[in-house]
Symmetry: C3
Subunit: 278 residues, 3 copies
């Protein structure tokens, strides 16, 4: 018996409509033994940047050869391409709009296919608004039953696909302090505000200076939001290693009223060991 | 080894409470090898009309012999019947309130059973408010393990069950134009407004006249909402073939403030081929 | 072939973020044949009391040996313990904050282990904010593949864990009437207001006096909310046996504006048989 393959879905189709259900129906018709799960069924509508973050922070926890079906697709029905990517450990099927980019680069691209073989679409005549059902879900499911990747379309190079990154700058102010500038990359349903700033170990217990919009905030650096006092905004490295603003038992986002994509800068003390290691 | 059966759930139980979880527990206790999925776990509360639309537009994408467990049940605990329906390709278990009607008629009714055999209830003494757990889920799960349909209750005829339809009128104004009148059947979480009007190919690029409430709107007919300009309400055939009002990267529903069940009329040019074919 | 084990998840991680998806990835990496389901993916944020209710009212419907992974964890990263509990019929993994307490007591505790063996964590170095991924999910999954419970940590006694209960008082006013006082324990997404008051059979058709906040309400006792007239708040025993305030086709919670944890008292007639049985 072959091991059951897993398709992990990330869409902005939501939990109230039947779009995700229809995807699952299509997938199971092709492969009844598939194991289907969700990174999330309810990514932010049309938002490629936050969709890319949700994929990038979670994909590595899935077992080898998981097929990721990623549909945040504001350009559906227009000229944008549909792509299939094989990386070192995983498979990805998505519109070519950048949503995969940080992840497939990180896991090392083996092969990119521009999907064009209508034989693997739901039918010859497809809709203009629901390519999740008509193209992406069937292709993901055909991959799961072992169809050779090359038959789905033509191989293209990394230079031909849409780029997207979670960039930030990191500058040493003095021996003990850094200034990092990036963007707000994700606000979760608790109201925690994640930034693109990462790979930096802030010294806990110290105050950091956070600039966002026209605000300057002095926030305490802690290990976990749960160390914050009532009504105290705090700064910490979130579970995925991104620097985040949160608040104990409440919503930082409600208090600060910021949005994803906005600029943020942090001036903070770094841990001694990260200092010495430079 | 028998193939795993699939139960596809559609409820208005929501994603925050434990009602769907309890359903799944009950189902798996009877059939541990079942494959459970959702059309949606969060249909609109008590809303039979929109529940019927969600089922009708998605059921055909599921594999043959899928068992649909459909619970939108404002009349729970009152005199309404519980029914089990076998159609050409599928099985359905639901309260008899019309939610199944358009779908089972479309897929051709083989047999309708009024569920009454308490042997297949969760227990002899059932609650008055949670028939999903006490009647519908166990019956669906017993079907999945092969219990003969006739033992669940008495067969009844199509004339005895509650009707519901997605009707609309279609009138030819002249050689090139039609006037269609129906109802708003569903507003999705993007804010797209689907109407009952369907099976008509509108000519893209032309303007259509849409009447709803006291409003008269001139909307461009497009292939996909993604072709709309910023802030431009557009008209198109949605992924399920129903004529829909949408807007690129925004919510038509927020702008128009309409509700499901309201009347809508459309005057529009039809495609040349659909014209010639008449 | 071994039977597939089921892990039933209850978290406040929500349906929009990727936290539940990450949990599932971690679980499947350890046990690819696991069957994963949710009591709910979206319990109320940080709310241990309502999380305990959601678990307590649903767990008994799951098949024997189900592993419950319960993560409502406002104290993550602080000194609170992680525990694993074997009861008569089930396994539970959760932070030690009371969320399991009413349930494990009800199903009879066999063994409580304070989780400490880092060998079964996601990695030696874990985060301070995402113990669901780093500790609870891997432990639940290792249980599902048969790891002996004693290797996860040290056994502790019931007296050492955090308590929580759904208490209420019940007082006989006269031969026909009782006065019961408890708390609002859960408000569901329909707006139904469940109280901790239970195990009492109210006489339907009679009026009951309900006190909450500064309000005194005279509500009709019915079998099901569906028996209520338009705009009529009614009182009934909910599907889990807890006395609940609801309203037909509308939201009692929106009308009354109350919150979980608030006090509530009910004076009502009891059923004749429950009277005689005393």
């Amino acid at each position: 018996m072959l091991k059951r393959r897993t398709i992990a879905i990330l869409t902005d189709y939501g939990v109230s409509d039947n779009y995700n259900g229809t995807l699952e129906g299509v997938i199971r018709k092709i492969n009844p033994d598939i194991d289907i799960t969700y990174i999330t069924p309810n990514a932010k509508n049309f938002n490629i940047f936050t969709g890319a973050y949700l994929l990038n922070t979670s994909y590595r926890y899935f077992k080898k050869n998981t097929i990721f079906l990623v549909i945040v697709d504001p350009g559906v029905g227009t000229q944008r391409n549909a792509i299939l990517v094989k990386t070192n450990n995983y498979y990805f099927v998505a519109p070519d709009n950048g949503v995969l980019y940080p992840t497939i680069v990180e896991d090392n691209i083996d092969k990119i296919i521009r999907i064009s073989n209508k034989k693997f679409y739901l039918s010859e005549s497809i809709s203009n608004t629901f390519h999740g059902r008509d193209i992406f879900a069937p292709v993901a499911s055909y991959i799961s039953v072992g169809v050779d990747l090359n038959v789905f379309g033509e191989e293209i190079s990394k230079s031909e696909i849409v780029k997207l990154d979670f960039s930030y700058t990191l500058e040493r102010i003095n021996e003990n302090k850094v200034k990092a500038c990036g963007k707000i990359v994700y606000i979760d349903h608790f109201g925690n505000i994640a930034t693109t700033i990462r790979n930096v170990k802030l010294r806990t217990g110290e105050k950091a200076l956070v600039s966002l919009r026209d605000k300057q905030l002095e926030l305490r650096v802690v290990r976990t939001f749960a160390e914050g006092k009532e009504n105290e905004l705090v700064l910490y490295s979130n579970g995925y290693g991104f620097i985040e603003i949160g608040i104990n038992m409440s919503s930082a986002s409600n208090i600060l009223g910021v949005k994803e994509g906005e600029d943020v800068c942090i001036e903070a003390y770094i841990q001694e060991d990260s200092n010495h290691s430079t």
